[in-house]
Amino acid sequence: MNFIVILLRQTGRNMFHTWKAQTMIIFTVALSVLIFSFFYLIYFNALHLGEKLGEDLRLIVYLEEEPVESLQEEYRRRILRFDQVMRIDFIDSRQAFERLERQLGQDSDILTGVPRNFLPPSIEVYPVPSLNHLSRIKRFSDYLLTLPGVVKVQYGKDWIDRFYAFIQLMRIVTLLSGILLIMTTTFMVAHTIRLTLLSRQQELKLLRLVGATNTYIRMPFLLEALLQGLLGAACGITALLVLFNWIKLQLAGPLPALAHLPFTFFPWPIILCIVLLSSLLCTVGSYSSTRKILQL
């Protein structure tokens, strides 16, 4: 009971007296959390984005001639044997022609006089989307070409190539920056904590000399670090939220295409995780820093 009162008073006094260093640490932690969660958020959304955009993706398998019911079953079986797919559609010449007409809309009059079955029948295969399936799709396409009666396999190669190249590039950039930054910020936080403790080393040593228990010396620091971690993370996450909404606003104007994309902020559990992790890290850092000093 008495110990808790002393502990709280001690912590309060420390934090009040060293508010400059405190602000520094909280700022550092906030910045670190901001940077980390910024990149994590990008990665998080890029994953979803990849999934969402991947849904449009299909392989069009042009066939020599209209497959009969039994052949369709055979195709379906063979396709499923190679890889999981989301959907398989069979499109006959007529359907293809109608679709082209619909796509041309106003200009559909240019099709007048063209025979309704001039387009070949096809199978549309929608693979299960995944961020990294460009090479899988290629292999898939190669496989499909080996099926009997298949003339050609199309899958918007250019579009996919570019799109996935970008997703891939962004992934690498995000991951690398993330790693670089986590390194940097961990280093920064550790460094700052260590230096702050170093400047109070004298006090810690003195406490030890006048007969304070390790717990007595350490608890205020740990509590302090915990609070710093909590506050820093809270500030960082708040800054990120503001930034996130600002970016969304920026994108919504000139880029309506992106406005419809499912950009989401972290759900609560992840926010909680980040905050807890941050305070844990600060506490552990503080603990290990005091440890060395208290070996007196």
Binding site: N2, F3, I6, H17, Q202, E203, L206, L207, R208, L209, V210, G211, A212, T213, N214, Y216, Q295, L296
Partner: protein, 254 residues
Amino acid sequence: MIQETSPTSIIIDLIKVTKVYAPDVEALVEVSLSIHAGELVFLTGMSGAGKTTLLRLISRMEHPTKGLVEVAGIDLAKLPQRSIHLLRRRIGMAYQDFKLLNDKTVADNIAIAMEVAYRQPAFIEKRTRELLHQLDMTRKYSTRTGELSRGEQQRVAIARAVANYPEIILADEPTGNLDAETTAKVMELFHQLNQNGATIVIATHDSTIYQQATHRIVTLHAGRLRASAFGSPTAFSDTRPNEDSAPTEEALTS
């Protein structure tokens, strides 16, 4: 001597203690010394003789290279890390380099020694004011110690050492920066604590504070115990400092 006939009351016991600082500085060589509970001992010797080292061994700030150090019946070599605070709370040490926290106030600096022993705030304040009054520093209660004169700092260091009524008080050159008048006040404080039962070891060069005392004087010479003698029988509190002095070293080594 009473102390010598009742060996159970030995509170500080050094047996053949040698301390060698890396690589080859022999600070203490085979020093054996027993101090009884309630004694007041003066530790003298030239600069670099090993006085501070001896005190640091007693408060376990250093480990002896060889030999045994026992304080209050505890063999310090066997005292585990986590129990040191129990020893340290029984010892009050006024360091030669003060070890004050210059950013804190005088009151805070003195309070520290009592706070770690979970004293009540009211007690702490009362005791702090009382000590400052005794050391003639009432006006400096809430001054940052960094803004004090060196002699004032020294008094704060002494106040902190004795604040929590420790059983053992180790004072390392407690009057090096003090004038005769203030020295007398400090010595009065020590004598008063000694009369209340505290064991006190004072390492000092200042012959004026020990030559008239009845107390034991231990002299170190280049790390070796040279002599352990008793001062002149004149009671300290009756004599005025700076008045008369007897030749010291010659008398002691005889």
